[in-house]
Amino acid sequence: MSGNLLDISGLSVAFRTKRGPLKALRNVSLGVGKGEIVGIIGESGCGKSTLINSIIGLLPANAEKPSGHIRFADEEIVGMPEARLQQLRGERITTIFQDPMTALNPVLSIGTQMTAIQYRRTGSTAEKRRRAIEFLEKVRMPDARSRLDQYPHQFSGGMRQRICIAMALLTEPDLLIADEPTTALDATLEVQVIRLIRELQRDIGCSVLFISHHLGAVAELCERVAIMYAGEVVEHGPVRDIFRDPRHPYTRKLLECDPGRVLEPLARLPTIGGELPDLVRLPQGCIFEGRCPDRFARCRERPPVETVRPGHEAACYKARELVNP
């Protein structure tokens, strides 16, 4: 898939642990086009943090060198020298995280922080402040000019997340990575933040990689989505296809479990029984086999990636059969 801004192909990352190498990501392939909003849905242990860290080149010390490719524009990120990575980070690839308070320095005013991140640009401090105010207004912060010199603790949680969004978009990056940005927010705030991200994305034209386990948020914001389970991408495709016609058993079970999906009140809610597999001693065959309601004999061998329709793929032998009634 050339022409993509971000092209991850065959990415595998393992960590050195006492029990042996922990294979956190295995053969992950994902593409984000220019100006596209792509979602990643995954629960704990799916490897999304490892994936983000791989993209921005911030894997921890016990990570072995990744195999596979991460192409960003025309450059290869795997093996990129730190100096070049630093040029990309904060300028062309920016991130927002779940907890805005840990992303903001509590002892500096937000104005100081927002001008500091523009260090690569020439221009006076006054110009940088003006730009900071401009972006605070874009995220709909009231009284942006006077609040620029306030400190993070003087803002509410929702406001802080907006500040983080403003900071992430200040440099007009090519790619914004949002890691669970709304998970800690109230539902009414989540709606606002999602709409804000969508508006700003249209305004600036950046690509967005939106990671969340809130199915509703992804459905609202994203054009395409990849579903990750225990270090693999098990299904990906256009949002409408995935939510309306999921073809991988994990995706199907996950959607079933979302209580918002179940329209009639139930006495017992659906769940996915069993536990995550051991990523040090990987099972042979399909990674979801242990918990899959549709497993059969062939699942002992790793399933191929089946194409359900153009742009929609699922790693399951039964991908073409599992059609919703």
Binding site: S44, G45, E275, L276, D278, L279
Partner: protein, 294 residues
């Protein structure tokens, strides 16, 4: 949210010993050195009686002898074997260190917990008392106390306790107040647990770790206080050998021989360094683990 958890409880016994705190400390050069030095001091204190000499009996014919096989550190101005006196001094140093530290630890723990968990008025009262004590410079405190009680080992212990206990109590108080607000303490209260139970079962076990580290790091200071007070004549009275008094005598007779002074100073350096190295390595190993465990 943790990720996957496995039955990795089944780690071999050999691996557990290899991984235990003691072995990890030994593997660090500073830790190994610390243990070695501290072991020297402890063994010295234990075997002080086996040198064959008395620490206090005079032997005026053997004054100011240089070190030899018979007298490993030479003799002092009264002909007494310095090595024996130093070993006996180790007993005093370690005794004061552990007794005074122990009292400060327990006292600080109890008072800190009461201040942190109890009613506001009690907290304010305790803080008043503790802060007043803390504001005395140690030397002046020592002088004032000794004027009242006369120089003795107890005076030294008392000075150390007054100097250290308030700081420990403050740290414990702060930690207690933080722990009081945690969900597991609230949970215990919601079960109906009484205050003493909450303090004993839920709060104290989480306080002890950090406090032990702080206290361990203070042992070198305590040794120094004891030596200092004895040097000034405010501690143990002659002829009982304390490193500080050996040093003082050595200083007085330095023109006759430098060995008494060295004999007094050297063990202080060894003990202080040893405990410092040990304490620092202990802290480095216990702290990050505490953060992980908690």
């Amino acid at each position: 949210m943790s990720d996957q958890l496995f039955d990795s409880d089944r780690v071999s016994a050999g691996a557990r010993w290899r991984d235990s705190t003691f072995m990890r400390i030994v593997r660090e050069p500073m830790g190994a050195l610390g243990i070695f030095l501290v072991a020297l001091v402890v063994l010295g204190a234990l075997f002080a009686d086996f040198t064959g000499y008395s620490p206090i009996k005079l032997a005026m014919r053997d004054r100011f002898l240089d070190p030899s096989l018979a007298h490993l550190l030479g003799t002092d101005h009264l002909g007494r074997d310095l090595f024996t006196r130093v070993l006996h001094g180790a007993r005093i140093a370690l005794g004061v260190a552990f007794i005074a530290t122990g009292i400060s630890f327990i006292g600080g723990l109890v008072l800190g917990m009461i201040a942190g968990y109890g009613p506001r008025w009690l907290d304010s009262l305790l803080l008043l008392v503790l802060d007043s004590l803390r504001s005395f410079p140690t030397v002046m405190l020592a002088l004032a106390l000794v004027t009242l009680t006369g120089p003795s080992l107890s005076a030294v212990v008392l000075v150390v306790v007054i100097a250290n206990l308030p700081s420990y109590a403050r740290v414990v108080r702060a930690q207690t107040m933080a722990l009081k607000a945690t969900e597991f303490v609230l949970s215990a209260r919601s079960l109906g647990a009484r205050s003493w139970r909450i303090l004993a079962v839920h709060i104290m076990p989480n306080l002890v770790g950090p406090l032990v580290i702080i206290v361990a790091m203070d042992i070198p200071v305590v040794i120094t206080i004891e030596a200092g007070m004895s040097f000034l004549g405010l501690g143990v009275r002659p002829p009982t050998p304390s490193w500080g008094s050996i040093l003082n005598d050595g200083y007085a007779f330095i023109r006759e021989s430098s060995w008494p002074a060295i004999a007094g100073g050297l063990p202080i350096i060894i003990a202080t360094l040893g405990f410092t190295f040990l304490g620092e390595t202990l802290r480095d190993h216990l702290d990050p683990r505490l953060r992980q465990d908690g």
